[in-house]
């Protein structure tokens, strides 16, 4: 249960006083977390979840919402950052909401994570082949092309998309649309 995960400032001081070792990721280390929340399929339920984050001062990096195989249930994939104490609190606050059916933190498990990105970039005769090379390396797909711009579709883990955008930066990016992370636990 969660009380083995969490360390409050008070607990850290107590541990230090007792000369016990404190693992950095016990408390202070901030990391990314992907939390999957199954909620009742209604706008109100979705807003309550988001509202909880803002009302209690938690971070959100990205949120995706969509229906599941059961049309009365929506699945929210929430990407957030925090230390283990904060994340434990996030999970409890989420579970406590009336409309949440299941709350899972995927970060401590083996899971698949994907994000979709559309990226529009200006090209010239000189840069065209280099842009296409980069896209090839990242297994991007050209989904639209005009005389001045090309639009790529790219999917993969968020880090891959970060890296792709990074590589495209020197070439006059016009527009970037990212879907936010969706994730699912692997079956063992």
């Amino acid at each position: 249960m969660a009380d083995t995960l969490v360390l409050t400032p008070q607990q850290i001081i107590r541990k230090k006083a007792a000369g016990e070792p404190i693992q950095p990721d016990d408390s202070e280390m901030t990391r990314k977390h992907t939390i999957v929340v199954l909620v009742e399929n209604s706008i109100g339920a979705f807003i309550r979840v988001i509202n909880m984050f803002s009302a209690r001062g938690f971070n959100i990096d990205s949120v995706t919402v969509g229906p599941t195989e059961d049309s009365s249930v929506s699945r929210m994939n929430i990407a957030t950052v925090g230390n283990s104490r904060i994340i434990a609190q996030v999970l409890r606050q989420l579970s406590r909401l009336v409309d949440t059916i299941e709350v899972t933190d995927l970060t401590t498990t083996d899971y698949v994570e994907r994000e979709l990105c559309l990226l529009k970039v200006c090209y010239t005769k000189d840069s065209r082949s280099e842009i296409l090379d980069v896209s090839d390396i990242f297994r991007g797909k050209v989904v639209d092309i005009t005389k001045k711009t090309m639009t790529f579709e790219l999917r993969g883990p968020s880090q891959k998309i970060d890296a792709f955008i990074d590589m495209m930066l020197p070439h006059n990016i016009v527009e970037v649309a990212r879907s936010g992370r969706v994730a699912m636990q692997r079956d063992i």
Binding site: M1, A2, D3, V6, L7, T8, P9, Q10, Q11, I13, R14, A17, V39, E40, G44, I47, R48, N51, M52, A55, R85, A88, Q89, L91, R92, Q93, S95, R96, L97, V98, D99, T100, I101, E102, V103, T104, D105, T108, T109
Partner: protein
């Protein structure tokens, strides 16, 4: 790994809390208007009293009320905020759910303070707000406001009813959510067209909410660990909060404490859960708690937290609070566990269920040395105030206690008088101390006392209902006095008048070099005796200890309406002991003479 969601699995409803649906009221399937469905649902839910104020959006509900004469009483309050506080007072005094009915727009926004108060203090109330017709929502219609949006972060849950066929089920769920688990306010927004639409009325007998489950029993392995921690401890201490009152665990807790010999300190909302005349009672802890309770916290090696949430007014500076203690936390709300203070052993469950499980697992302990040490602290710094023949607030409260032998429902407002009441009244019974703790709402006292008095009348209790208020807070909702008078409630309203916003004044004196910025009320205070009389109440005034006793006797003779007692007391009085905000619990100021090293 899935996050522990075992609390999300099976909805548990504890036995007698749920009123049975009376079959004669569920005229099954009969077609009626939404307004009538609402009233019939309230009847089926066993509601006895509704605090409300009509308006355009709910006019059909009031029309149906006039026509069908439902089996509950409607109390017309004079301000919606007063209505919500009255519902809170009623709920806290009786343990039942309070009900509020108001119109849209300003009606809804006026309830916000009361809803926030109920949210912070875990008070079960259901607030029905009118709403403009669904077709007009979002059009900035007359008296429209987004009640759901405004109340989202101060309600346990809220509903916008879009279809008349959802109405009865929504009412059922709203009461279920408000009453069970950690209690709290639920808001139900009712568009006017839904109230006008016709639909079949079937009041559901059960609720089915897959996302909402109520913890009841604690896990056995956690309980075993807790019992072992209690066994191994040398200086254990019960720290008891409002959860013990909400779950009606007072007798059980008292039994366990006496059985084990473990002393008990209570929070502001825990007052009354353990009889304060018991030798094991350390009284209140925290910012204005007793010296000995706070010393016990700082020196104990085990805290058994029972339905408490380690509020900042209890702990002060977190990292130096209870430095030697391990913590067992018995709690129904998972989000309170290890939120502020790490719980070495967290038991998620209903306080009553968990204590019932724990009782046979704990053995009597030898705590003689520990209690002896606490007695030393008790002698070191007793609660005291100057005895110079002047009328002082603490003396007034002691007189009220003597008049009632501590057997009264005491409602306080917020400020110095609230802390003095907590310190000096000595609460003996559960549900006899009602106050605004978390939100600290001035203006709570008078209407909450009215609600509590209605509750006492409903359950046929002869316990007097006493409201202790300051001159600042009393004025904020004084309009409800006339409502109490109209219903012939024999309320005792004590106004401790120091002609100042006393608690702010105290902070200004201690921490702001005596710059009394806008806290002097002497120019704007009403004549309280005349105010009482203008509201059809009896008004009395005392300026000396002798008069104080006299007017209390006189007030107790009034049985057919509220009696207001104004006590004019010294303005310089301060609440001691005190842990300054943000300071460590060990750094208590015990009197005026303590050097101001903390500034």
């Amino acid at each position: 790994m899935k996050y522990d969601v075992h609390t999300k699995v099976q909805p548990v409803v504890t036995g007698d809390a749920l009123p049975k649906v009376r079959p004669e009221l569920t005229t099954k399937g009969q077609h009626m208007s939404g307004a009538e469905i609402l009233l019939r649902s309230l009847e089926a839910e066993g509601v006895k009293i509704v605090f409300g104020h009509p308006g355009g959006a709910v006019i059909h509900v009031y029309d149906e009320m006039h026509r069908i004469k439902p089996q509950f009483e409607h109390i017309l309050v004079r301000h919606e905020q007063g209505g919500t506080h009255a519902a809170e007072g009623y709920a806290k005094a009786t343990g039942k759910v309070g009900t509020v009915l108001v119109t849209s727009g300003p009606g809804a926004t006026n309830t916000v303070t009361g809803i926030a108060d109920a949210y912070m203090d875990s008070v079960p109330i259901v607030v029905f707000t009118g709403q403009v017709p669904t077709g007009l929502i979002g059009n900035d219609a007359f008296q429209e406001c987004d009640a759901i949006g405004i109340s989202r972060s101060i309600t346990k849950h809220s509903y916008l009813v879009r279809d008349v066929s959802d109405l009865a089920r929504t009412v059922k769920e709203a009461y279920h959510i408000a009453r069970t688990g950690r209690p709290g306010p639920v808001l139900v927004d009712l568009p006017k067209d839904v109230l006008l639409a016709k639909g079949p009325f079937v009041y559901p007998e059960t609720v089915n909410m897959r996302g909402y489950a109520v913890p009841a029993e604690g896990r056995v392995e956690k309980l075993e660990r807790a019992a072992q921690m209690i066994e191994e401890s040398e200086r254990p201490l019960f720290y008891v909060g409002g959860g013990a009152v909400n779950s009606d665990s007072s007798e059980l807790l008292t039994d366990i404490a006496r059985h084990t010999g473990i002393p008990v300190t209570t929070t502001l909302h825990g007052l009354g859960a353990f009889p304060e005349d018991d030798t094991l009672a350390l009284r209140m802890l925290g910012m204005h708690g007793t010296w000995w309770a706070n010393q016990a916290i700082q020196h104990c090696d085990l805290i058994i937290a029972v339905g408490a949430r380690f509020d900042d007014r209890v702990t002060g500076k977190l990292d130096s609070w209870a430095p030697h203690a391990k913590v067992i936390h018995i709690e129904i709300d998972q989000s309170c566990i290890s939120k502020n203070v790490f719980a070495d052993c967290a038991i998620l469950g209903n306080v009553r269920n968990v204590l019932e499980q724990l009782r046979p697992m704990v053995k009597p302990k030898d705590t003689t040395e520990w209690l002896k040490q606490i007695d030393v602290w008790r002698q070191e710094c007793p609660l005291k105030y100057e005895q110079d023949g002047k009328l002082r607030a603490q003396g007034v409260i002691e007189n009220l206690r003597d008049k009632t032998n501590g057997d009264a429902v005491v409602i306080t407002d917020v400020g110095q008088h609230q802390m003095w009441t907590a310190q000096y009244f000595r609460f003996l019974h559960s549900r006899t101390h009602i106050t605004s703790g978390g939100l600290g709402t001035m203006g709570f006292g008078m209407p909450a006392a009215m609600g509590a008095a209605f509750g006492m009348r409903e359950i046929g209790s002869s316990r007097p209902v006493v409201c202790i208020s300051g001159d600042g807070g009393f004025v904020m909702n004084a309009q409800e006095m006339s409502v109490a008078a109209a219903h012939k409630l024999p309320l005792k309203l004590a106004v401790i008048n120091n002609r100042f916003l006393g608690m702010v004044r105290q902070w200004q004196e201690l921490f702001h070099k005596e710059r009394y910025s806008h806290t002097d009320l002497s120019d704007t205070n009403p004549d309280f005796v005349k105010l009482a009389e203008a509201n059809h109440c009896v008004g009395l005034r005392a300026t000396t200890p002798e008069e104080c006793r006299q007017i209390i006797d006189e007030a107790w003779k009034v049985t057919d309406r509220p009696a207001l007692m104004e006590f004019q007391v010294a303005k310089e009085e301060m609440v001691f002991p005190m842990v300054p905000a943000g300071a460590a619990t060990g750094e208590m100021i015990t009197d005026r003479m303590t050097p101001n090293s903390f500034v």
